[in-house]
């Protein structure tokens, strides 16, 4: 897959324009909108770090951890156009010392884990160079 074309797919309400992620919505959650029609739309693949942290201990299932467990960093990223914050791991190798609030990041794909020979891929945030 071409990294430059990688987007998260969200939903956008056809009537009021509100975005949703994850995008599997059936009814618009804006209380002043009664729409039940949505377009699947690509979300901004760049955003600003709202805050960040890491995980030094292995999370419980359904997280599938490497053995031995490898700590990972996490960022909450603000998307300007959608006016929403989306959480995700930071790219492998990026630590909390490498990022700051307000930093620009972009979306990448990364294999989260492999199970029964199948790769499970997720989005991660990579600081922009």
């Amino acid at each position: 897959m071409d990294e430059a074309d990688t987007h998260l797919i969200g939903s956008r309400c056809k009537r009021c324009g509100t975005y949703f992620f994850p995008g599997n919505v059936t009814f618009c959650r804006n209380p002043s909108c009664e729409s039940d029609e949505f377009d699947a739309v690509p979300l901004s693949r760049e955003g600003t770090i709202w805050s960040y942290t890491d995980a030094q201990y292995k999370p419980p299932e359904p997280y599938v951890a490497a053995d031995p467990f490898e700590p990972y960093a996490i960022a909450a990223v603000e998307l300007a156009k959608e006016r929403m914050i989306i959480l995700g791991q930071l790219a492998k190798g990026v630590t909390v010392d490498d990022v700051t609030t307000g930093m620009q990041v972009e979306l990448q794909l990364q294999t989260l884990f492999t199970k029964d020979g199948q790769d499970y891929v997720s989005w991660v945030w990579q600081p922009k160079r």
Binding site: C16, Y63, L87, T101
Partner: protein, 393 residues
Amino acid sequence: MSRDVVILGAGMHPWGKWGKNFVEYGVHAARAALKDAGVSWQDIEFVAGGATMRNGYPGYVAGATFSQALGWQGNEIMTCYAACATGSQALAAARAKIQAGQCEVALVVGADTTPKGFLAPQKGERPDDPDWVRFRLGITNPTYFSLYAQRRKDLYGATDEDFAAIKVKNAEHGFSNEFARYRKKFTVEEVLASPMVASPLRLFEICATSDGGAAVVVASKEYADRLGSQRQVKIGGISTVSPKFASADVEMPDIATDSAAASNAYSFRASIAQKAYEEAGVGPEEVSLAEVYDLSSAMELDWYEYIGLCPQGDAEKLLRDGDTRIGGRVPVNASGGLACFGEAVPAQALAQVCELTMQLRGEAGDRQVSDAKVGVTGNQGLFGHGSSVVLLR
């Protein structure tokens, strides 16, 4: 306006990791509350039970479970669950029943037995459940606590020492509290030497899960007066509000906030106590003491602002000036807070109410806040449950 409702009695089972059936804690707390109120169990007309999700069917129907354990006597029953806000919701139900004139005296009980370690989602492959999705991505409860803690560092200049100082303060407060689980004093250095869990928060700064039980007896003012009770504490207001769209808070268990592309952005947490203050006819400047949800040490700072003790960004100053320790201007978590209790989900919001009740009566012993007249709780349950109670002497 509807008639006044008062707290007649409060009771608790000490928090800990006792490994017993949750019903034991609930009944212990209920009997303590009834004794404290001077009310016989058989006089109770309505029981509001806080449900627990980890103790099988008896936990889902806790109001009935506690009633049966105390001895069936024909009282009406309800059970509710609102995660960490469960206790306030149960209290609100009892108050409404009394306000509506449908009963005069009610018992509110919450109790829990908890497993060790991280709170984990239910088993199975459930990609439609946001709680399942976030754990799959490696986003745990401490992730959310730490995102807010880190933001305070970057926006308001909070330091690791500030976060540790919260733990030190609350450990000091809870040291003499017979109901607290952790009764040990800490230094800032000891807290900072504990293992990092989720940067910047360390093990001693993140709330544990506990067993425990709390109960209150509530009644109409008329009933309390007829009983000749001299130790009534008035319920000034209760807030159980939900968020407003578009909620801008990064909230468990969601991996994204609402989009404010077509709506105004709101801060849910800052709105929670507002309704309780309005009902009570008091403002944050009149508060004598507060019990807030310190799921992490850093989160207590956020709550100073959410409940209006100071403007946004000033919480660190309040802490550093000693305003929020016992003896300061507005002590916060005089009970020791979650730092000393650990969380027993359906009992915790009631435990906050029990502490304020003891404080407003002047019965809090070594941790008594002097001249306590107005108390407020601040708390929030997963999936959009606000919780705030204002008590008045």
